[in-house]
Structures are given as structure tokens and as C-alpha cells.
Point group: C2
Chain length 262, copies 2
């Protein structure tokens, strides 16, 4: 087999773009990102990865919902009483979801229609300008959004860095959120190392590495939360072998039949 060791870089750097403006509905992201890159004299290469916060993608796509206009179903009202959340918010969460995985005080974990198991279906009340009535949904198709934004950026930049759309997810058993890849274009998100051997010549037991999620986790460290307003990060140092024409963030989703934690 080929030299797979070249799939791990020996050095990786993550640089946040500064001065990104507040994004509003309909505002194209590619020119904003290209301008921020230019201000920092960063010329992305095709092996680089741009990591973009879900929030600005959703805002650009106008994924706002006015809670004041939401009719609450009986099911949402019942769940809201159990988890202590706003019934209108719970209604929006249910409309984004295909399954309620857990409902407990202050916790509503669902399987999003895109397949992600996550709190509140990713529906976000923070960093939405204007009334507290407005919430923000995930992009309609984050892998598609990543591909579209990547194409737009390539046209401006003249190079084709990969692109990952990130959100922050909680985890069972461990406190705190971690950055997670919800959309991707141009890069392997799940690296299959089956057949490789360790230094003792024994076949590796760990066969798949969540490259996209690890990059998202690293990027979230430099994005910060809230006040920083650094929703785009350039990751540099990844080997060309991780480029992938058709990989998607959804490659990482475990098939339902393998879900031991429904």
C-alpha cells in the first residue's frame, strides 16, 4: 500500500480571521472572507482548510425564525413542560428533527433531520441580533453550503482551499462543548486507516479517524464563543493526501442500525 504516514502533518497552524462584520440575511460570505484573508495577507493554498462557523452561514442564508409566529403543537407543549424550555422554541426544534433522543430538565437532545444527534437541533438563540423572539436554524444543507461557498471563494481567490462548516456540540458523559464538522467540501472528514500497521507490524485496531471533527474542535478554540466574533479560521499544514473531491461531513454519521444509544 502507499505511504499512508504522509496523511498526518507534522505541524498544523490555525489562524482566526479578524474584523469579520456582523452577517445579515442575504449577505454573501465569500467576499467578506476573501477581504478578511487579504487584510491579514493570508493567501490560501489548495491544501489549506477554511473553517467557517455555522452561525454566519445560517445568517447569510436567512435561516431565522420568529418565535412570535410559531404555532405550538400539543407534542411540543408536552416536551417543553418536561424540559423547561419555551414551547415555541421546542416546536421549532421538533420541526427540525426526526427523533427525540433524550428529554430531561434543561436538556432536549434530538436527531436532526440531517442526521446529527445534538442538543436543541442546533437551533440557536444567542448571537441573533434584534428581538429575543428570533432564533437561527442550521443551514438547510450544510454540505451543500460548504460546496457552494467553496466554489464562490475559489472564483475570488484563484485557489481551492477545502471548507468545513463547524458547530459546537455537547457530548454524553463529558461536560463542555467541542467544535464539530456539520458541512464539508474538498477534504476527507473520516479517514479510513484499515490495513495500516503499527510500529510493531500489528494491524491497527483504530481504523477510522474523524479528521473533520478534530479540525473543527481545533478551530473552535481560536474562534472563541460570543464576544470574539472570529467566525472563520484558516488551517494550514494538512497534507495533500487529505484532499477529497466528494467527501462530506455527513460521512461521519453512524448508520441508525449501529446506534447503541437511541
Amino acid at each position: 500500500m502507499s505511504d499512508r504516514s504522509s496523511l498526518s502533518p507534522a505541524k498544523l497552524s490555525l489562524t482566526a480571521l479578524e474584523g469579520m462584520p456582523e452577517v445579515t440575511a442575504g449577505m454573501p460570505l465569500a467576499p467578506l472572507i476573501a477581504a478578511a484573508l487579504e487584510r491579514q495577507a493570508l493567501a490560501p493554498m489548495s491544501d489549506d482548510v477554511l473553517l467557517v462557523s455555522q452561525k454566519i452561514v445560517s445568517k447569510s442564508e436567512g435561516r431565522f425564525v420568529d418565535l412570535a409566529a410559531v404555532d405550538v403543537s400539543a407534542r411540543a407543549r408536552d416536551l417543553a413542560a418536561r424540559c423547561g424550555k419555551d414551547p415555541r422554541l421546542v416546536e421549532v426544534i421538533l420541526r427540525e428533527s426526526i427523533e427525540v433522543v433524550r428529554c430531561a430538565p434543561q436538556v432536549l437532545i434530538v436527531r436532526h433531520r440531517l442526521g446529527f444527534v445534538m442538543a436543541n437541533a442546533g437551533v440557536d438563540q444567542s448571537n441573533v441580533p434584534g428581538s429575543a423572539q428570533w432564533v437561527l436554524l442550521l443551514p438547510q444543507d450544510p454540505d451543500g453550503s460548504a460546496a457552494t461557498l467553496r466554489r464562490s471563494l475559489s472564483a475570488i481567490l484563484g485557489s481551492s482551499p477545502s471548507l468545513i462548516i463547524t458547530d459546537t456540540f455537547g457530548r454524553p458523559w463529558r461536560s463542555g462543548v467541542c467544535g464539530t464538522a456539520i458541512g464539508a467540501s474538498g477534504i476527507t472528514t473520516l479517514l479510513d486507516r484499515r490495513g495500516e500497521r503499527d510500529r510493531s507490524g500489528r494491524e491497527l485496531k483504530v481504523t477510522q479517524v474523524a479528521i473533520g471533527d478534530a479540525l473543527a474542535a481545533a478551530a473552535a478554540l481560536v474562534m472563541g464563543e460570543g464576544a470574539e466574533g472570529r467566525p472563520v479560521v484558516l488551517a494550514r499544514g494538512l497534507p495533500a493526501g487529505l484532499r477529497h473531491a466528494t467527501a462530506r461531513a455527513s460521512d461521519v454519521l453512524r448508520p441508525l442500525a449501529e446506534d447503541l444509544f437511541r
Copy 2:
């Protein structure tokens, strides 16, 4: 409140140390790491973080078990039949565990006595030199190992970088493993951002960030798996505000009472 935005760096770099030798039982790690740092002309500063693979810590601590010498209990035999694993390996896993969380074909997820919910209690059959009969356990006390190794390194280096011991964990619902912090000394592992406000002045809903796990995930990207043999990574760029005298990796463990996925 103080300026918390300084808790996210705008730039972060991760550099793997090259040329680390195969570690054997009783071999002190601090001189090996210090020598590798010097070869790469890396002089760690106190705000830097050294991320060290669990495997070399366990090897240095001699945490090997010879499967040939393991007496298999009836319970291990029963579980082994259900998950299709070596009964002697299952016995070792059970001795390291306080609870079996899930058992299914090719899957044995337990709560390790240290509190981690993980596959196979972290018992590792790969990269153990010699016979396939030998397996490697997690360090007895990874937070303690991190503190001890950090002290030894400080004595050699003259500075006190933080230290995180990493392992790779699978996740429910998402395929692939991600680097995870199992031991830490000198750095905040769970950053509490309660009370901070977003750019719209609304209080942040996401209150805790798993800094240690995100750094471990990033470091695992440059460590690689298996053939690379790069078990130590230097992370640079973290703000001084993340230094913490008493934080431990175990801070991230969710209390049992909050576990919705037993």
C-alpha cells in the same frame, strides 16, 4: 467582569516532536521529550502545552498485562461471547471498569474506574512490542502522571509548560475516533464562560467549553496513528488566562446523576 475574550487565542500552532524512541517500561519520559524539543530548537514557554500520547505514558509506567496469565471469570466469558472479543482481554477490561455501558458484536463500552466512558476501558493491543499476548492499560492515575511528568520536565527545561495526556475515543452517533484529554496539569480543561454576553448583549447559552479535549483532538491530528510514531506535540499560542494550577482532565467528567445515556 474581566476581559474574557482574551481566553481565545487568535492563532494556535501544533508541532509534533520527531524521533522519539520506542518507550519501554521504566524509561523516564522527561529526558526523552526534552531532548526531542532541543533537537527541534523548541524552547517551551509556560503558556505552551505539551500533549503526550497515553501510550508512551502507560509504557513508561509499565502498565503491561500478559493475557496468558489472566484467569477468566464467568462474567468475562459471557460478555466475550456476546461481543466476540478474546475472553482474556474482556477480563482485563472488566478489571479496569466499574460498569458495562454497552455490549454488542465487536463493541464493549464501559465506564473505566477513572470515570471515562470508553471502548475496551482503553486497553490497547496495538503498538505493544513483543507478543500479541501483551496488552497495555491506561496509566493508574493520568492526572497524577501529567503532574509528575510536568514537574520532571520543568526541572529540565526551566519553564513550566502545561501538560495533557491524550487518548483517542470513539463517540456515539459519529464514526471515527477523536483525540481526548485523559490527564492534565497546569491548564484549564473545562472553561466556564457563564455570565459572558454575546455580540448582541444576550447571555451566552453555551457555558462550558472542553478546552482540554479540543487541544487533544487537534494534537491527535499531528500525532497520527501507528506508523508515524509522533507521540508528543507542542501547542503554542494559548493565552495565559487558560493556565490553571489545579485543573484536571477529570474535571470534564459528567456526574453520574447527569448521565442520560447509561
